[in-house]
C-alpha cells in the first residue's frame, strides 16, 4: 500500500535532477567549460518547479496512456482465463465488424450533431444580448447562465429523472394540464435522446456565453462605426466584421464542446442505462460495459483509443475548417 508512494518520490527526484543534469552536462561538454553558467541555474530551477507535476503525470497519465496502447494489442481479458499474448491489431479489426460499436458511434454522433451547432449559436446569441445590458446586469446573467455548470452530473441526472419520470413526473403533469397525453420520456426510444439533447441546450452554455461575451467586447468599436458609415446592413456587418473576428473563440468553443460531447457518459450510466433499445448507448458507455461488466480490458482499451483518434480527427478537421489568420 505504501510502496507506490516510493515510486512517486523516485519520480519526483528523477524529474528534479536528471533532465536538468543531462542538459547541463551536455552544455558544459559543448562549450568546453568547467564552471556552471548563470543560465544553468535557470535550467535547474525550471525542472525543479516542474518536478512534482511531471512526476504525477508520469505515473498517472503518461504510463496509463502507454499501457492502454500496449494493452489494446493483446487479448488481456479477466473473464476468459487464457494466457495473455500479443494479438496485433485483432481487437481493432473486431471492432470494425461489431454492430454494437457502430451503433454506439452513431448514437454519440447524433448527440454531438444535435447539441454542438445549437450550443454555439445559442451562446453567441446570448452573449450578444448580454453585451447590450449594463455592466452589473451583464455580470448577473453571466453568473446565472454558468451556474448549472457547477452542478454535478449525478445531481443533474437525479433532477432529470424526477422531472421526466414516466408516471407522475413534472413534465407529464404539465402535459396533462395542457390537455396532452402523458409520455414515457426516458422509456420511449423516440424521446430519450431528444430529451437529453434539449436539456443539454438549456444547461451547458455557460462557458460559451462568457467566452463569447469577452471576445465580442474586445472588438474595437471603430470597426462598427466604419461599417455603419459604409451603409452596411446588420447582417453584412455580422458576416464581415463580427464573425471573422470571433473565429478564434468559435474554434475554442467548438473544439472543447467536441471533446466534451464525444465523451458523453453520465446520462447513460445514471438515467437510461443505455436504453431504451440502445438509443442512448454512447461510446463511453459501451467502453464502460466492456471493461466493467465483461472485464475485456484489452478490447475496452482499443475502443478508448479509437475514440481518442476520432476526437483528435474531428477536432483537427473542425480547426482546419474554421481557422483563419485574422488578427485585431
Amino acid at each position: 500500500m505504501i510502496y507506490p508512494l516510493w515510486y512517486l518520490a523516485g519520480l519526483v527526484l528523477f524529474w528534479a535532477v536528471v533532465p536538468a543534469g543531462v542538459l547541463i552536462g551536455f552544455d558544459l561538454v559543448r562549450t568546453k567549460r568547467r564552471t556552471l553558467a548563470i543560465r544553468h541555474t535557470q535550467w535547474f530551477w525550471g525542472y525543479l518547479f516542474l518536478a512534482v507535476a511531471m512526476a504525477w503525470s508520469s505515473l498517472f497519465l503518461f504510463y496509463p496512456l502507454l499501457k492502454a496502447g500496449a494493452q489494446s494489442l493483446t487479448n488481456f481479458n479477466l473473464a476468459a482465463g487464457e494466457a495473455t499474448h500479443w494479438v496485433g491489431l485483432a481487437n481493432y479489426r473486431d471492432l470494425l465488424t461489431d454492430p454494437y460499436w457502430w451503433q454506439a458511434i452513431g448514437v454519440t454522433l447524433i448527440f454531438v450533431a444535435g447539441t454542438l451547432p445549437v450550443s454555439i449559436i445559442m451562446s453567441l446569441f446570448l452573449a450578444m444580448q448580454i453585451l447590450k445590458q449594463r455592466p452589473r446586469v451583464q455580470t448577473f446573467f453571466k453568473a446565472a447562465l454558468y451556474l448549472p455548470g457547477v452542478i454535478s452530473p449525478v445531481v443533474g441526472a437525479a433532477v432529470l429523472k424526477w422531472i421526466f419520470h414516466s408516471g407522475d413526473g413534472f413534465a407529464n403533469e404539465i402535459l396533462v394540464k395542457l390537455g396532452l397525453p402523458m409520455q414515457n420520456w426516458f422509456g420511449d426510444p423516440h424521446l430519450a435522446m431528444p430529451v437529453l439533447i434539449v436539456m443539454t441546450w438549456l444547461g451547458a452554455n455557460g462557458v460559451g456565453v462568457i467566452v463569447y461575451a469577452a471576445a465580442l467586447g474586445n472588438i474595437p468599436r471603430t470597426y462598427y462605426e466604419v461599417a455603419e458609415l459604409d451603409g452596411a446592413s446588420r447582417f453584412l456587418t455580422f458576416a464581415n466584421v463580427t464573425w471573422p473576428l470571433i473565429k478564434p473563440t468559435t474554434i475554442f468553443v467548438t473544439v472543447t464542446s467536441l471533446i466534451g460531447g464525444f465523451q458523453i457518459f453520465a446520462p447513460a450510466l445514471l438515467i437510461t442505462g443505455g436504453g431504451p433499445l440502445r438509443t442512448t448507448w454512447f461510446v463511453n458507455y459501451h467502453i464502460y460495459r466492456t471493461f466493467y461488466y465483461q472485464n475485456e480490458f484489452a478490447m475496452a482499451s482499443a475502443m478508448a483509443i479509437v475514440l481518442m483518434g476520432l476526437i483528435v480527427f474531428v477536432s483537427i478537421v473542425s480547426y482546419r475548417w474554421l481557422a483563419t489568420d485574422v488578427e485585431y
Binding site: A20, G46, W56, F60, P64, T139, V154, V155, L202, I210
Partner: protein
C-alpha cells in the same frame, strides 16, 4: 429628433434582449428551482404531484433529516469523505500547477516548449483511455477501496498548468528579470512576487478544481465498494440506483434533499468567487 428616436429604439432593443435573457435564464435554472421546491415537499414514494406547488407550502425539513438517516446515517460519512478528498487534492494541485505554470512561462530552459506541447496534447486524451489502466493499477497497488486511490492520483497533475501558464505569460517579464538582477532567488521570486499577483487565477483554479473534485463521481464509483468509503456523489448514485433505467421507486422529496446538500457547497463557492471566475475563464480562450 432623429437622435431621440434612435435612443428610444435602443432602449426597446435593450429591454427586448433583457427579456430574452431573463426567459432563457429562468428556463435554464428551472430544474434547480424544482429541486429546491421538491426537497421541501412531502412527496412519498407514490407520487402525489398535487402536493407539489410552485412554492413549498409544507416546508418539509424532515426530508433533510430523512436523507441523513438513510443507510444508517451514511450520508454524514460521505460528506466527511468528500471533504477529506476534495480539500487537499484541490490545494496541493493548485500549488504545484502554479509552480509548473510559472516555470513554463517565465523561465528559460531547453525542453520547455516540448513539455508545454505535451501538456496540450494530453489535454485532448479522453478520460476513459487512462481510466482502464488506472483502475487496474489500483488493484496492483492494493489501493482499491482506500483513501489512497481517491486522493493520490488526483493530488497533482498537469490539468491546471495550462491556465496558469497562459496567465503568467501576461505578467511583465521585466518584473522577474529585475528581481533576478537584484539577487532574488528563484523560490523567492515565485513566492513573493508571482503568487501574490496570481490571486485572481488562483481563485479561478481553486473553484474549477474544487468543483471538479467535489462533483467527480466516476472515479470514486469505480474504486470504492464499501459504504464507508463512498463520497456524496457515489452515495447518491447508490441511493438512486444505476444502469437500470427509470423504474426504481424512491422518495424523490428525500432524494432532492440529498441533491441539494450535494450542490449547495459548490453553488455558494461559485457565487462567492464568481467575479474572479468570469474574468479568469477567458484567459487563453479569446485569442485562440
Amino acid at each position: 429628433m432623429a437622435t431621440r428616436t434612435s435612443q428610444s429604439a435602443d432602449r426597446i432593443a435593450t429591454t427586448g434582449s433583457f427579456l430574452i435573457l431573463l426567459f432563457y435564464t429562468v428556463l435554464a435554472l428551472l430544474p434547480l428551482y424544482l429541486m429546491i421546491v421538491s426537497s421541501l415537499t412531502h412527496l412519498g414514494t407514490s407520487f402525489d404531484l398535487s402536493s407539489l406547488k410552485w412554492f413549498p407550502r409544507d416546508w418539509a425539513w424532515t426530508n433533510f433529516s430523512k436523507f441523513f438517516q438513510l443507510m444508517q446515517g451514511s450520508p454524514w460519512m460521505w460528506l466527511r469523505n468528500t471533504l477529506i478528498i476534495a480539500v487537499p487534492t484541490t490545494l496541493v494541485n493548485l500549488f504545484f500547477s502554479a509552480m509548473a505554470g510559472y516555470a513554463l512561462s517565465k523561465m528559460e530552459f531547453p525542453g520547455r516548449r516540448f513539455i508545454f506541447w505535451l501538456i496540450i496534447a494530453v489535454m485532448a486524451v479522453p478520460a476513459f483511455v487512462t481510466l482502464i489502466p488506472l483502475y487496474q493499477m489500483m488493484f496492483h497497488f492494493g489501493w482499491f477501496d482506500t483513501f489512497f486511490a481517491l486522493i493520490v492520483p488526483r493530488v497533482a497533475g498537469i490539468g491546471g498548468v495550462f491556465l496558469f501558464k497562459q496567465f503568467m505569460t501576461t505578467l511583465p517579464s521585466e518584473l522577474t528579470q529585475a528581481a533576478r538582477i537584484d539577487g532574488a532567488s528563484e523560490d523567492a521570486i515565485f513566492f513573493r512576487i508571482i503568487l501574490p499577483m496570481a490571486k485572481p487565477v488562483l481563485a479561478v483554479m481553486f473553484l474549477l478544481d474544487f468543483v471538479a473534485a467535489w462533483n467527480d463521481y466516476f472515479w470514486p464509483y469505480l474504486v470504492t465498494n464499501s459504504r464507508e468509503m463512498m463520497t456524496l456523489q457515489v452515495g447518491l448514485i447508490s441511493i438512486m440506483g444505476v444502469d437500470q433505467g427509470v423504474t426504481r421507486q424512491v422518495d424523490y422529496g428525500v432524494i432532492m434533499a440529498g441533491t441539494l446538500v450535494c450542490s449547495l457547497p459548490v453553488v455558494i463557492l461559485f457565487i462567492a468567487l464568481q467575479r474572479f471566475f468570469i474574468q479568469g475563464l477567458t484567459i487563453g480562450a479569446v485569442k485562440g
